[in-house]
């Protein structure tokens, strides 16, 4: 089980991630999207899930990543991401519950570009018993 003190705490990435055109091109190609002027809507998962993995598996929280199943996902997109954006990601465990021995962790990641919120991503991750 996760460290209960970690629920509601904010974890900020140490540094911004720069989105490259080739990352957008590859993601768009993988889903058959021809418009590469902006990142496809779910591209943010590349950044948000890596950040969630980093903080959830840290010793402060203690999630074992190989027990994780992705339960649900939500995005709110204020401004589509694009090449050259420097994204600073802040994550928080917004919701936590236990059911039938499984843990349900909802991690919210806010992706900001130039200090302005661009995309919020919520991932509910199920840690199987």
């Amino acid at each position: 089980m996760i460290n209960p003190d970690s629920i509601g705490r904010s974890f900020a990435a140490n540094e911004a991630v720069t989105i490259t055109q080739s990352q957008i091109d590859a993601f768009a190609a993988a889903i058959g999207e021809s418009d590469t002027s902006i990142a496809p809507p779910t591209f943010a998962i590349r950044i948000s899930l890596e950040q969630s993995q980093n903080f959830l598996t840290s010793s402060e929280v203690g999630v074992k990543w190989d027990r994780i199943v992705h339960g649900d996902q939500k995005f709110e997109i204020k401004k589509p991401l694009k090449a050259g954006d420097q994204v600073l990601c802040t994550s928080v465990i917004e919701n936590y519950k236990q059911m039938a021995g499984n843990e349900f962790i909802t991690a919210r990641s806010d992706l900001a570009v130039n200090g302005e919120l661009a995309v919020s991503a919520w991932s509910t991750l199920v840690v199987r018993a």
Partner: protein, 137 residues
């Protein structure tokens, strides 16, 4: 004319092991359950399964193609209810359909989306809120 109940024509996306590899490389999600049959079976799965996020991305493509481009989506959410099983050496169909569920006071449109594979619904409560102002009429 877009109104509640307007149906978006069904579309089929083909998924095979090569498309999963491409998505894995593009997304950075290299979990072996999406590429390695032996590993997938060792953790109790029937075979290699598609990334839930890949399915979500394809259904998102379906929604944004209808709405007028990949910048039209404002909110997008789903549950991952069943895996899309992808055997070796063949492609599986992801059948996607949608309907206008609500027109919000802001004018944005909520699409209720359905995705099935092998006769099973693979997403639950898949909903996208899109801006249809740029949609060709």
């Amino acid at each position: 004319m877009i109104e509640v109940g307007t149906v978006i024509p069904e579309r089929v996306f083909k998924i095979d092991r090569a498309t999963l590899k491409k998505y894995a490389d593009a997304s950075g999600d290299q979990n072996p359950i999406h590429q390695n049959e032996e590993f997938a079976k060792s953790v109790g799965l029937p075979d290699v399964i598609a990334h839930g996020m890949f399915t979500m991305a394809l259904v998102g493509k379906f929604a944004t193609d209808w709405a007028g481009g990949s910048g039209t989506i404002k909110e997008y959410s789903t549950r991952f209810t069943k895996p899309v099983v992808v055997p070796a050496n063949k492609s599986v169909d992801l059948i996607v359909s949608g309907v206008v569920g609500e027109i919000l006071p802001s004018g944005l449109v909520r699409l209720d989306l359905t995705a099935t594979s092998d006769g099973q619904k693979v997403l639950g409560m898949a909903r996208a809120i899109v801006d249809v102002n740029g949609k060709s009429k």
